[in-house]
Symmetry: C2
Subunit: 328 residues, 2 copies
DNA sequence: GTGAAAGCGCTAACAT
DNA sequence: ATGTTAGCGCTTTCAC
């Protein structure tokens, strides 16, 4: 493969000049630029990023840690990140944490001198793991106890959802949270719910806030299991909030299996607004998160374009899974 | 960060010796190995792959080209590839082709000297694009007109599905193929169907083999649209084969909207056995592809562990979306 | 068995 | 405005 040196010789200039036109940095004469561009085109020169990365001791690889690659929410996010990173010629690779030794993965990332790590997985890990990265100046997101630079404003969407349930005459709202107990109590969606349910006229029944072991188990399995638990619990409920759309998918199935009609017998609201939720049966009413903005924010931070915390908007998307009890 | 040289000095040997113990190549005395391992541990040495990649002019990056990152089938595949690649310390990154200039993506891959490209997307591209890679010895899958090294044996699964539909008394089987006309006619699943439908006693009605523009449009949208078209076509059908599970998802919704009950009014069979198809309503009967084997095969080929063509098995998974017409 | 040294292709500081 | 050159950290050949 043709090297920068060959291009330089072909164009009758030095490698530094070639670098300058490629990186668009420093002064170049119109004439020199012409010659270099011509040489690049004619020799079909393709810069070797491997060498560049080594020289500046920093790769153009951004790592995203996810629980599992099939999760549509994370992948929507990754999609947005890829898009944003690409405009600056960075590549993002997703690393699935599940079933793998986290320590080993991190060593891999260190070995490849990734320039940033976005942790989308909720695994727990001794923070000391990350020393090597902070030393190296790697940009970290959600990796340490530091307050995150990107925060999702779930409260707006939650309030819209709760107001909507109130308006449509619901009284007993259950919450399929799915996370482990201690995580459930920290989740912004759940907190917003427990803090405000009284104000919206909902019963304050903690027995209908259900925890499990997501993301250890798959979201739809968790949703299914918790919906069954809810049914068996014999507590009143006329609506169910689900932490994620995939949990809602499982819950829908469980209700269906038990002969409960949605939304006639029970209303369901999801969260994430995954692209295929309109195809759920019934089409799911859900809280939409601006994942594009979220993904962009992560990359902008990693690339040093932002250093203020970004708030990601959410809002309720109304479809067919909530019944209006105030009408016949 | 500590370098190989520092390790060498600390251990009182040369860098070459350190390399040897790390790569497990060449002769090393028991004693030297001890010292080196000790030095590595104490200095917390992490090899710099950037430098290694440059020196051997070949990265440890395997690129996977996909239509879009949210497609669960592709991501299941990518998941398997990641797993397999990781045992040899290779990293795989997925590149979404949609909405991006393919040429630009390929240049990116070339610039990063990826060691292999697995093309899972069905985009069309002048094969000359790939010259630069074959020159460089990059392993290519599904990138040129060459017969692929990995082939999915859809015929087995299709025969099982057709036999099952025959056994359960179906006569008019439609096929939601979704691809463009010319691709539909080349698809192994569709071909198997048209070649054998008569043998299974199904009507030979080409009007119920439906094409569209997948993957340009989303699979569920295509499935939805084609199911509607099928309903309006006024051709008889008592069962519908779908090219993919996601198309089936859309089709299910369309049938439901038109008051058709599945499987009572029409039977549906999907393909791929996505992990959440049990949660479709009804739970989807579908042709399962061994995606794990498929992903492994791709990586094994890229890593030069295989050079014979691998055949990936498929089989029918029976759930609740097909009615047994032979019983009451 | 082990070490010395010549690259790999590029960047960036410095010189001109 | 352009050229020179010393690394970046590792691999690998060749000599000992």
């Amino acid at each position: 493969m043709v090297t920068k040196k060959e291009v330089a010789e072909y164009a009758g200039v030095s490698t530094a000049t070639v670098s300058r036109v490629i990186n668009g940095v420093g002064y170049i004469s119109r004439e020199a630029e012409q010659k270099v561009r011509k040489a690049i085109a004619e020799l079909k020169y393709i810069p070797n990023k491997l060498a560049g990365n080594l020289a500046r001791n920093r790769s153009n690889l951004i790592a995203v840690l996810v629980e599992d690659l099939i999760n549509p929410y994370y992948m929507t996010l990754v999609d947005a990140m890829v898009e944003r990173a690409n405009v600056d010629n960075y590549v993002v690779a997703a690393f699935a944490i599940k079933n793998r030794d986290v320590q080993r993965v991190l060593e891999d990332l260190a070995a490849n001198r990734v320039c940033g790590i976005v942790n989308l997985a909720m695994f727990t890990c001794d923070f000391s793991c990350y020393d090597v990265f902070s030393e190296a100046g790697t940009k970290l997101i959600n990796c340490t106890a530091d307050s995150s630079m990107v925060s999702i404003d779930y409260r707006t969407g939650m309030h819209e959802a709760m107001a909507y349930l109130q308006r449509t005459g619901h009284k007993n709202v259950a919450f399929i949270a799915g996370l482990e107990e201690w995580l459930t109590q920290k989740d912004a969606r759940v907190c917003c719910f427990t803090e405000n349910r009284a104000a919206y006229g909902f019963a304050e029944n903690d027995k209908t806030i259900l925890s499990a072991d997501y993301p250890l188990s798959k979201a739809y399995d968790v949703g299914f299991a918790l919906a069954e638990r809810l049914i068996r619990a014999n507590e009143p409920f006329d609506a169910v909030l689900c932490l994620t759309d995939m949990m809602a998918m499982g819950a829908l199935k469980a209700f269906y299996n038990h002969g409960l009609r949605i939304p006639d017998d029970v209303s369901v609201i999801g969260c994430d607004n995954l692209e295929f939720t309109p195809y759920f049966q019934p089409a799911l009413t859900t809280i939409s998160v601006d994942t594009r903005a979220e993904g962009f924010a992560y990359i902008d931070y990693v690339l040093g374009k932002t250093d203020t915390v970004t708030s990601i908007p959410t809002h309720l998307v109304i479809r067919d899974s909530v019944k209006d009890n105030t009408r016949g």
